[in-house]
């Protein structure tokens, strides 16, 4: 076990796969000589050379499109979006070319798009968004969003080995959040499995990414009041771990979903619908969502704090639900 940051865990997983499999390559803007805007691929150019660590033009359509082409040929590209927000410039390639490819051809398309996303980095409306719901609404893609360093590594390795296009959402605020234990060498966090991070009996809290950590703090806050909160890290957003979600909801009879993405049409709506459809008989209160305001992400730290769900609000929502 090594003590790694989330960022180092991503690097560790990527490097391990590139060493293991020479069809794996990385492509993106400023990732070679400079090592990437966040330094994920620092040292890669020296180790793997310019045809496996490709400093690409400022052109997301070309970089994703070329990765689709390379993947069709049996390579395993990992594309870095410098900021996940920039993926809008590649949407045709992601949503039409990549997502529909197997369905149209019965031919695998192993492709990972790394999506540095999320707020609390003073990034404003074009560098802080959580766009995962767009891709969850796209059959043919898989969508993962690790909250811990261990899963950052394990899910990245799983994504690279998957024969389908995977949108890998890595939260920028978690990059250097803290150090955590991460297993050495190769290991895989299976896509499609949630994890119970904290066991409880009163309320089930479903979240992912940076918000998952706020949920844990909120659960800690209400614990002295005798409220035992179960915190479930979804980890995989497409496919969702239906069994884990339903079994936790049935266990506590109360469900609260928290995400940083804006509320309307978010992943929380899907989780809420699933619980309402499949576990209605077990519920003892409304299924509740806490999410960011339905606005663009504001730049001012004061406004951004008001935009995102905060620990106190989550704690309050837990209390309200527990009281039912």
């Amino acid at each position: 076990m090594a003590q790694l940051t989330y960022l180092e865990a991503i690097r560790d997983g990527l490097q391990a796969e590139m060493r293991r499999d020479n069809t794996v390559f990385v492509i993106g803007e400023d990732i070679g000589v400079y090592g990437g805007a966040f330094g994920i691929t620092k040292g890669f150019l020296e180790e793997f050379g310019p045809w496996r660590v490709i400093d690409a033009p400022l052109a997301e359509t070309a970089n994703v499109g070329a990765s689709v082409g390379a993947a069709v040929m049996g390579m395993r590209p990992v594309v870095e979006m410098q900021f996940g927000d920039f993926v809008t410039d590649a949407m045709t390639q992601v949503v039409h070319m990549a997502a529909k490819f197997h369905w149209r051809t019965r031919h695998p398309l192993p492709l990972v798009i790394r999506m540095p996303y999320g707020g609390d980095v003073k990034g404003g409306p074009f560098h802080s968004q959580c766009m995962e719901a767009w891709f969850v609404h796209t059959p043919g893609l898989k969508v993962v969003a690790p909250a811990f360093a261990e899963d950052a590594k394990g899910l990245l390795i799983a994504a690279i080995r998957d024969p389908n296009p995977v949108m890998y959402f890595e939260h920028k605020h978690l990059y250097r959040y803290r150090r955590e234990e991460v297993p050495d060498g190769e290991f895989v966090t299976p896509i499609g499995r949630a994890r119970i991070v904290r066991e409880g009996t009163a309320v089930s809290l479903f979240s992912y990414g940076w918000m998952l950590h706020k949920c844990l703090q909120a659960a800690e806050q209400v614990a002295p009041e005798g409220i035992a909160t179960e915190v479930v890290d979804l980890r995989s957003l497409l496919p969702l771990d239906r069994d884990a979600i339903l079994s936790s909801a049935r266990k506590t009879s109360k469900a609260l979903i928290v995400h940083e993405a804006t509320r309307t049409g978010g992943v929380g709506a899907e989780v809420a619908a699933l619980i309402a459809e499949e576990a209605f008989d077990a519920l003892d209160g409304p299924v509740v969502r806490l999410a960011s305001e339905d606005t663009p992400v504001p730049h001012s730290p004061v406004l951004e704090a008001a935009f995102q769900p905060q620990v106190a609000e989550i704690a309050e929502a837990i209390r309200r639900l527990a009281a039912y």
Binding site: A59, G65, A70, P77, T92, K100, R104, P163
Partner: protein
Amino acid sequence: MGAIRVASTTNETLTSNDLLEMLYYMRLQRAVEDRGIKLYYQGLIPGAYFTGWGHEAIVVGATYALAPEDLIAPMHRDLAAYIMRGIPVRRVFAQFLDREGGLSWGRDGNVHMGDPRLGVFPFISHMAASVPVAAGMALACRQRGETRVVMTFFGDGATSTGAWHEGVNFAAVFHLPVVLILENNQYAYTTPLDRQTAANALVDKAPGYGIPGVAVDGNDVWAVFAAAREAVARARRGEGPTLIECRTMRVRGHSEADRYSYVPKALLDEWAARDPIALFERRLRDDGVLAPEADRAMQERIAQEIEEGLAWAEASPEPDPESVAEGVYAEPDEV
């Protein structure tokens, strides 16, 4: 005839067999598409139907310049290219009819077809979207030290898209083995060329990417072949992409639902008199390459292939409704 041979990269001229094979594929495209038009008007083809009427010289001339190991990403007017790279006529008809025997098992229709196993990347509706993909296929060849070439096809309208710009630029920056076949048929649906570009000629865009560009008569299969052969050789030598603007005219509607009343009649008449198949036939007859007997045999062979292929397609079942949710994802052991 039969399998495609490697085109010479030197001064070797085309043999009589080569010329007859090219004519065969041009006629085959026309014949399959004409049969398709009948099926369409009989209401047997779901959705839209597109042809490459008038494009046959571009499609066949360019594709004929490729070696067997090369790759293509064609568009919606390139039927012969699919067939020349190994897709059987029967599966094309089954694709038109949305049958289980089609190239997408009823998942997608008309010319949205391909087969990655044959090195034919399937077209999608978004124009020029295949251009960056073709660059990536070439990138993979370059990464693995293979000397294969990727040829991609697109229209005049496609050159206005961001995808085209990004794809061409990407291929140029990395000197990738890509051949860019521009099928300039002067109209993108109803939009004429002067609404696509203020450039004097589309080929003038090439120097902006630092790549050579050449314009050829797109109705002269020999001229297209010669330009493509040179571009393929250049790509194979590691010298990067070439843009070949093949000038022609779309002599039918964008799709069969389009009556193309917006195209001046004089323009249509001018190009109807320059039909690429008729031009090539005349030349081959004048040169004594196309003897009456061989001509008849070729026509009969094509007619038989059409009938057999269509019969096979019509016998192919409709997709199973129970299978509707299948195939969205590849399984882990799928390679």
